[in-house]
Symmetry: C2
Subunit: 163 residues, 2 copies
Amino acid sequence: MLGDVTSTRWLDAEEQRTWRAFLDANKLLFDRLDHELSRDSAMPHGYYEILVRLSEQPGRALRMSQLAQTSQSTRSRLSHAVARLEERGWVRRESHPEDRRGAVAVLTGEGFAALAAAAPGHVEAVRRHLFDRLTPAQVEQLRAISEAIRDPLLEVAPSSGSP
Amino acid sequence: MLGDVTSTRWLDAEEQRTWRAFLDANKLLFDRLDHELSRDSAMPHGYYEILVRLSEQPGRALRMSQLAQTSQSTRSRLSHAVARLEERGWVRRESHPEDRRGAVAVLTGEGFAALAAAAPGHVEAVRRHLFDRLTPAQVEQLRAISEAIRDPLLEVAPSSGSP
DNA sequence: TCAATGTCACTGAACGCTCAACTACATCAC
DNA sequence: GTGATGTAGTTGAGCGTTCAGTGACATTGA
């Protein structure tokens, strides 16, 4: 198929099947999780991620560029996202005390409350659609596989936002 | 964390680690693949998927709603996407011969050529970033895991577009 | 035959993301 | 110091997706 004059290492039938299953599983899973989160808590998954990362920091605050890194995001996307989170009163910006270029995103009380309200439902959804479907051995396999995929990609573009 | 008065089945440390690795691996992998495809072939992954599905059909044609289903897409998204593919001359629309509500998307010669030009690079990228990172046993595991995640999600919303 | 209901596909507005500037500040070399 | 380069963060335009709504046609049942 698709006239092959080059030395392309095409996928064989088994690999095709794996790739399709992987593609479809991901699409379905993340669409579902994002949809349920938006429906129940009026926040897209990207916002949820940002709130989670902030909530894990001491002082519930983090510099914008570091927040972008831990969220696998870009500075641009984060800047837009934090602007919208600020409109909702869930995050506020402060200027960095030492580096005058810097901005620090701080999770507000309302933001933490919104996260606390959203988390149980979301975690349940992750369980229902992911962990409950897998055996303990498969969960362990999934972790190893994910790390094997992730780590090389982290090394190629470690700074200044992933994509 | 996050004051727990309900009976939420929170993720333990090991599950957290798995979930984070899975999230990050997916984000990095699909961002990378989409980025390389856009850069090398000027088409987002969603378009590529549509062209692939069409190319696999007899006559390289498929009804819109069926194309939406096999692409894990919605009719709305597909309608917009095909409109843009039509502007590029890669797909054309015909009216369904029997059901006068229906529209049929047909892959043009140019569309097939664009796909043939894009495929080798994309397949290589999938190999580099996915299959080359995994052992044969892990590939087999990934297939089983993906199917275990996918199949229940397919049953819940089988018709009228996934999300 | 005819109304009610369902299905197919399209459309426009709103939203989030990407990309390419751009400003402001920091750092480095000389 | 001064100029060059690097880094932090923001902004606006363009693109793709989602959502709600719409019109056209098909199907069903009385």
